[in-house]
Amino acid sequence: MIDVLYFAWVRERIGVPKEAVDTKASTVMELVEELRSREERYALAFSDLNSMRVAVDQDLTDFDAPLSGAREVAFFPPMTGG
């Protein structure tokens, strides 16, 4: 089980800020494919990965990153702090 978190408009499209996902995905991209195939709202949220960022265990990474041992994956739009 991995905690999957969503922020900003990704959270709004998915409809929840956080959920536990039972997955055997070995990379972020595999997890994205799994989620996409679940329901329309996931397919919509993940339709353009160029406008999305990902963090694994609270470190920014990319969609090729492995998920072995990961406890938390977060998807969100490019940041707009400052």
Binding site: Q58, M79, G82
Partner: protein, 148 residues
Amino acid sequence: MRVVVQTERFDPGAELNRFSEGLKASGATVSFTGITRDVIGELQAMEIECYPGMTEKALKQIATDAMTRWSLEDALIIHRHGRLKAQEEIMMVATAARHRVAAFDAAQFLMDYLKSRAPFWKKEVTREGASWVDAKDIDEDALTRWQD
């Protein structure tokens, strides 16, 4: 080095003085304050979302990188989240170094990283609705100058 993430307002002047009080060897202090602009008088609120846990961690890393790279005597980052009104302070950074160029460069580095690498997302609320602030390519591009 001090990194604060909070919902409450803060007093930039008081923070600047508090930051400066402890300095010994620094001849130069630079501060940046970001304010919720309301150019056309329509902003009702700005909502800032953060990623509890990761946000503070990312800010600490950015501040540590700046301290090391420019041999700063001290660095400060304060960033608010939650619901802000127009004309309120959003965030502030301060840097202290022996010379002005280091203090300026470090403050700009902090701001460039905060803009594109710190997990905050802004949403502007007006009478006509709410919309997420888009990230700007120019902000992403700004980071390239710090990559050696």
